[in-house]
Amino acid sequence: MKRLTWLGAVLALAGCDGGGDLSAEAAPVLETYANIVHASYEDSLSTAQALDGQLDALVADPTEGSLGDARTAWLAARSPYGQTEVYRFYGGPIEQGDPEREGALNAWPMDESVIDYVFDPVMGTVVSGGIVNDPSVTLDQASLEAANGVGGEENVTTGYHAIEFLLWGQDNPATSGPGERPATDFSEAENADRRGQYLQVTSDILLEDLGELVADWAPGSEDNYRAGFVSGDARDGLRAMLIGMGSLSGAELAGERMNVAFMTMDQEDEHSCFSDNTHNDILENARGIRNVYLGRYARVDGSVVEGASLSDLVAARDPDLDATMRAQLDASLAAAEAIPAPFDEAITGAGRDQVQAAIDALRAQTTTIVEIGALFELELNLEE
């Protein structure tokens, strides 16, 4: 089902006739949603282009300064992308492509030793290996994409986290703080040039995938995904929005990304472990859920994209439910903000109460999202 079209998704979701009133009311809501999706992918692309420029600068002149600038650009690029993860879970463009774009962009965990040298804490030695240190592998887009195919399934060697690994290096569990890769890894270390090339090629793949997502959601096309989405059955569109919100809120964010680390207390069971940026990933995911409901997205340049919202639709039918939803979205965002950084220390130490509170808030709002589905006669089987 990887090449699911909008029509295919509509059929799979087996929507019913929405009725005239809802269709008319929901049309501008779907339009706002599409505008927000498009704007946030545009911001993801522009910040990734800025990162790409810093990577070029790092490779041209590898210093601690240029490495620091590249890291800052990576962190900046993660903010808009984190807000786009709520567009997953319903077979939309992010879950299409071969390899599937979500995996190519954001695969986790990283197969670090397939990429570069790693430290073996058991033996106390550095294991020199990976594609970077294997001159028999040509470093270009085709070969990295082929390397992803080793094992025949998901990507493990490209995307944001591959770049993160190459910029920060391993986060050795024995020490606190992010990874400490030295700038000399790009200047005088063995295969320094190949390490730089790897970064640049991975960045190219990232830009290509993000560019496709922008195009899929761009206005003015008659045959892209957006065109089918905004003109399709209103209730199918609402279902997609709610499934994205509820799946990210419950199973993915509260469950997979927070509760797993919380319950296993494994410090590196976090998505941005090299940079220690996981607390921001969580925050931006939570913000993305709120964006979709409120029909409002604050762009990286400070401007705001907004319009008719899901909140308006709910408020017109059940003002109390809308108030509950908005209060819960505010509360989960506040709870995510309250988690002390870094996340890997929060789960084992003083921040456990705050992590638990954020998990509880996200699970609670997932239940409300199911109720909103019921308001539109949509049965959503979500895991809270």
């Binding site: 089902m1 799979a12 979701l13 087996a14 077979g91 695969a107 986790w108 965990p109 990283m110 197969d111 670090e112 030793s113 397939v114 790693v118 430290f119 073996d120 804490p121 058991v122 033996m123 294991v127 290996g129 990976g130 294997d134 080793v150 094992g151 025949g152 399934e153 998901e154 493990v156 391993q170 986060d171 050795n172 569990p173 990874g179 199973a251 509260a254 469950g255 997979e256 509760n259 797993v260 319950m263 296993t264 494994d266 590196e268 069971d269 472990c273 090299f274 699970r363 049965e379 089987n381 895991e383 809270e384």
Partner: protein, 454 residues
């Protein structure tokens, strides 16, 4: 087959105006989830508590996410290989559903080859192949050689229904190439197996052993041509032979052993039950590769994954009142299919409360049946002979195209749809298959409609 209620039931159905039974749509009892999306196999039992759902999602994470090469920063998730079939459970059990054979030049992914040599191995199981073990792993981490490359070709087998309508079935021809650790023996026994779906397994575990023993009729005492035997397999934790329940040949005694065995054999991840890496004798690079922990899978992660696999909900049936579906059900039972694909069972006690004392409709007896030469793999597995297979459950099977995008059935995915699957039945199921072959086109369509409603 001892219980003779099938014919009584079909007579009953014939006598009454067709109607679905009370609660018939709820295939998994109170665990049942009403969902017809591509996530239909991946949802938690609906009767779990709030805290249990949280445990379910932790297990889900370790089932779905890739394992990576050791050493890695993500210490809970490293230890892939050195040789493996897949990087994650979900790599084969895609969306908790069913695997398929490769198409064209594809490598096998959600299908694997069990191998052995003639004779008995440890604890009465199959005898390992020197240099390779009991399963071929066509993938490996960097700097380690995969054991083999595998490929599937197909040959056509033609036939016709009694009304003259022809059909063409296909039979796989397995090619094993580039054997890296010495030539494979001439007497190699090969059993190709696709990944079975993993929902509802906790309910199957909760079926009392007495129920299965009562269904068994090893000597066909009732003379209906259908025997049904239990497999007796090695329980590694208890250190004794017990009733086998899971796997295509009922060769695993319980879910935890099934899971830990798959972690080792399929992903190369060691566990408390199987702490030694899957490197057959003579695979030096494999044995020398860094470990992701001893064992790589900690007891608490095993418990999370066991809980997850135990509590995946069975999706509800659709269209149970549809006249065509009801006619198909009556035909299914009248043909004797329900003798092995037992429509209704009761679960007994289970440590997970949600699974206990449920009325379930799995359409299996979990017993071994001789399925004839056409389906035989010729590879004994504990007490299962080379022609015997365990009756696979049919619940949820109608959603296969939605979830997994195919309807490739049977142990090696040779059947392209329900009709072909029925037509491959032989041995004890020959009479049932002949009943199907003798049906009119409309009747066959009704029977397939019934299967699609499961």
């Amino acid at each position: 087959m001892r219980p003779c209620s099938v014919f009584a039931l079909s007579l009953l159905l014939g006598a009454c105006a067709p109607a679905a039974e009370e609660g018939e749509a709820r295939s998994g009892g109170d665990t049942t989830v009403f969902d017809i999306t591509r996530n239909a196999y991946g949802l938690s039992a609906r009767n779990l508590t709030f805290d249990e759902r949280s445990t379910f999602l932790v297990g889900n994470s370790f089932f779905n996410d890739n394992w990576v090469t050791a050493p890695a920063s993500t210490t809970s998730r490293d230890g892939l290989g050195p040789v493996f079939n897949a990087r994650s459970c979900s790599g084969c059990h895609d969306r908790d559903g069913r695997g398929r054979p490769p198409e064209g030049d594809e490598e096998m992914l959600s299908m694997l080859l069990r191998v052995s040599i003639p004779g008995e191995g440890p604890h009465g199981g199959p005898a390992p192949v020197p240099g390779y073990g009991l399963q071929l792993q066509p993938r490996a981490i960097r700097d380690v050689s995969p054991e083999v490359r595998t490929r599937v070709a197909w040959e056509t087998v033609e036939g016709a229904y009694a009304d003259g309508e022809p059909y063409a079935l296909r039979r796989p021809i397995i090619h094993i190439e580039e054997a890296a650790f010495g030539p494979l023996p001439d007497a190699l026994l090969v059993s190709p197996r696709v990944a079975p779906p993993v929902y509802g397994l906790g309910l199957l575990e909760a079926i009392p052993e007495e129920t299965l023993l009562a269904l068994a009729d090893p000597d066909d005492a009732d003379g209906d041509g259908v025997s049904g035997r239990v497999n007796r397999v090695w329980d590694a934790a208890r250190g004794e032979a017990v009733l086998g329940r899971f796997g295509w040949k009922a060769n695993e005694p319980n879910l935890s052993q099934q899971n830990q065995g798959a972690f080792l054999g399929d992903i190369g991840v060691t566990s408390p039950l199987f702490p030694d890496p899957e490197c057959a004798d003579g695979q030096a690079a494999c044995a020398a590769a860094p470990s992701g922990g001893e064992p790589e899978l900690t007891p608490d992660i095993v418990a999370f994954v066991d809980f997850y696999v135990s509590t995946l909900a069975v999706p509800a049936r659709r269209d149970v009142e549809d006249p065509s579906v009801l006619r198909g059900k009556a035909l299914f039972l009248a043909a004797g299919c329900g003798g092995c694909h037992v429509p209704r069972l009761e679960t007994g006690e289970h440590p997970i409360e949600a699974l206990a004392h449920q009325t379930i409709r799995p359409f299996t007896d979990l017993l071994l049946h001789d399925m004839g030469e056409g389906l035989a793999d010729g590879r004994p597995d504990f007490e299962a002979s080379g022609t015997e297979w365990r009756t696979p459950p049919l619940w949820g099977i109608g959603l296969l195209p939605v979830v997994n995008g195919h309807t490739l059935l049977l142990h090696d995915g040779r059947a392209r749809g329900f009709a072909e699957a029925v037509l491959w039945h032989g041995g004890e199921a020959e009479a049932a298959r002949e009943s199907f072959r003798a049906m009119s086109a409309d009747e066959r369509a009704d029977l397939v409609r019934f299967l699609e409603s499961l």
